[in-house]
């Protein structure tokens, strides 16, 4: 009950903001919400399930392109097109996951990188279906029962999408499935000995998170009302990775923090140092990986812990951390 109320409160507050913004700010706000949604689902795939996959942003693109094609070219009504898009994302995720989850670490990264590249090639070569390099444009969100959701109300749709993603991923994380995913990442051999079907767990995690990315893409399609190959390139796939790592992989709050920070950073830095903001990105990444593998949220945790029990030394924990630091050195 308490969680339901806090979700409602967040929905109301985030939606209220939508009605206060001008056109440009609305665009920034919507994309921020979409990045947060993507970072939350990618955090489950990368941070919790431990799958180094670069296909997440491609599924965002698949969702966007599929719904546009189904509506404008196949002429499906919106609700049907939404269901069909989800089905396409799930099917494609399974096609990728079933062979790819046999691979680990570096090889999974390579395979999904190849998939992401292939997706761009397909978009560019797709002729009139995908619109080639120019993509698809000049379409609009169809009306539902004579009403076209637009303006701040469409921003509300995005708020609901983001919170629904958070709720779904949060539930998974706090369930036996989330524990199984972490167990598989930490120690697959021990997980299997406890009865966890390692491959199946990875496939399900990959499919659910990829489908969530697809749904976010579907919503994105009607933000800019244009989709093109340039948007769904690897650059953004890496940005997503950076968001989760800098924020703190494996933690929902970390993913949200990373998404907000890295999305907002260029807006703050560009006026100051122009295109050099990419350099600041890189420095942030290196610092995070070197000194704070748990990300910014890890810093926050440490500060909280220190605040809660100030001077009392906790020898056992101190010892554990000392060992970890030695291990890193």
């Amino acid at each position: 009950m308490k969680t339901v109320l806090s979700y409602l409160a967040a929905a109301v507050a985030l939606s209220a903001i939508a009605f206060l913004l001008g056109a440009y700010q609305t665009d920034v706000y919507r994309k921020l919400l979409l990045w947060i949604a993507l970072a939350i689902s990618y955090n489950f795939l990368f941070g919790i399930s431990g799958q180094i996959a670069f296909s997440h942003f491609s599924f965002y693109g698949i969702g966007a392109y599929t719904i546009v094609i189904l509506i404008t070219q196949a002429g499906l009504p919106l609700p049907l097109a939404v269901l069909a898009t989800v089905a396409v994302c799930v099917a494609l995720a399974l096609v990728v996951a079933i062979p790819a989850t046999r691979l680990e670490g570096f090889y999974l990264a390579l395979a999904t990188l190849a998939f992401a590249q292939l997706f761009i090639v397909v978009l560019n070569e797709g002729g009139s279906i995908t619109g080639g390099t120019g993509g698809l444009a000049s379409y609009r969100l169809p009306e539902i029962l004579g009403v076209r959701v637009a303006g701040p109300w469409y921003t509300v749709v995005i708020v609901v999408l983001m919170l629904a993603t958070l709720a779904i991923v949060g539930r998974l994380d706090r369930s036996w499935f989330g524990r199984a995913c972490r167990a598989v990442r930490d120690n697959p051999e021990a997980a299997a000995a406890m009865g966890v079907n390692v491959r199946r767990t990875k496939i399900i995690a990959y499919t659910i998170t990829s489908a969530l990315a697809g749904v976010a893409g579907m919503v994105y399609a009607f933000v800019d009302n244009t989709v093109n190959p340039h948007i769904f390139g690897l650059e953004n796939a890496f940005l997503l990775l950076f968001m989760v790592i800098v924020g703190g992989s494996g933690r929902m709050a970390g993913a949200i923090l990373g998404a907000v920070l890295l999305y907002v950073m260029p807006f703050v830095l560009s006026p100051l140092i122009g295109h050099h903001h990419a350099l600041v990105f890189g420095i942030f990444m290196v610092l995070a990986v070197l000194f704070q593998p748990r990300g910014l949220i890890g810093l926050w945790d440490r500060w909280q812990r220190r605040r809660r029990q100030p001077p009392a030394p906790r020898p056992q924990i101190a010892k554990g951390e000392a060992v970890k630091r030695e291990g890193l050195a």
Binding site: A167, R171, M194
Partner: protein, 262 residues
């Protein structure tokens, strides 16, 4: 012995690694509530045997029958749901989970809520989660780690990590529990505590199979002892009978007569 068939029946088990016969033609029985110890010098095939019974290695030939069902072709993750659970010699914990959550992973195959129920956040899934946490706390308490229930695994000592392995295994409600050198690396006080815990497990009617280097620890604990040497069983009986067996003495000490003549 009762007339009922043993819970675990190993028949003609063989494992070859290339030209090496790690285990040859091995027969073993374990009954419910019985503690079977398996010992042998280094390289006798203990660990290979253990890994086959735990489902980590596939036998080259022979059969493992558990509760009347052959385990041939059953994948590793199929052993826990059938009631066979192991511990690891080198503790293999899930480091990003708390002590309590590690134990909850042990309940993986016993969780009543489906993934759909989890996604929908049904009351049944919340209830299952609460119940799992309560049971995990009980088990953590049973092995004596209650004060660490919410701690990170990295704060545990090696011996406490071993106890966590046991609690996690018990969470799966096993009928046969396999211990891979449970006393290895433990201080004497910890060994005594471990002995007590394994006895407690056996008293609950759970069959126990343990392989062990520490002969004294094993002889005190086991109802029956099987001795392996060069991948074959050379003795099987009560601890007293096995200790008096000339073949066992020879395997451990070499040929004593030759030694005397030297």
């Amino acid at each position: 012995m009762t007339a009922a068939a043993p819970l675990l029946q190993v028949r003609g088990l063989c494992k070859r690694f290339g030209g090496l016969h790690a285990v040859s033609d091995l027969d073993l029985d374990v009954r419910a509530g019985e503690v079977l110890g398996v010992i042998g010098p280094n390289g006798a095939g203990k660990t290979t045997t253990f890994n086959m019974i735990a489902g980590a290695f596939e036998p080259t030939s022979g059969d493992i029958v558990f509760d009347g069902e052959s385990l041939a072709g059953v994948p590793t993750h199929g052993f826990a749901p059938r009631g066979i659970v192991r511990t690891f010699q080198h503790n293999k914990s899930f480091d990003s989970l708390s002590v309590c959550e590690n134990v909850m992973v042990g309940m993986h195959t016993r969780m009543p809520a489906s993934l759909w129920q989890v996604l929908a956040g049904t009351p049944a899934s919340h209830r299952a989660e609460r119940e799992a946490r309560r049971r995990a706390e009980e088990l953590v308490d049973f092995v004596g780690l209650a004060e660490f229930a919410q701690a990170e695994v990295s704060t545990l000592s090696f011996g406490q990590g071993r106890l966590l392995e046991i609690a996690r295994g018990l969470a799966a409600r096993p009928r046969l529990m396999l211990f891979d050198e449970p006393a290895a690396g433990l201080a004497p006080g910890e060994c005594a505590r471990l002995e007590e815990i394994i006895r407690g497990i056996s008293r609950q009617g759970i069959a126990v199979l343990l392989i062990e280097h520490d002969v004294r620890f094993l002889m005190a604990l086991a109802d029956r002892v099987a001795v392996l040497n060069f991948g074959r069983k050379i003795a099987d009986g009560t601890p007293e009978a096995v200790q008096a067996d000339p073949a066992v003495i020879e395997a451990y000490l070499g040929n004593v007569e030759n030694l005397a003549h030297a």
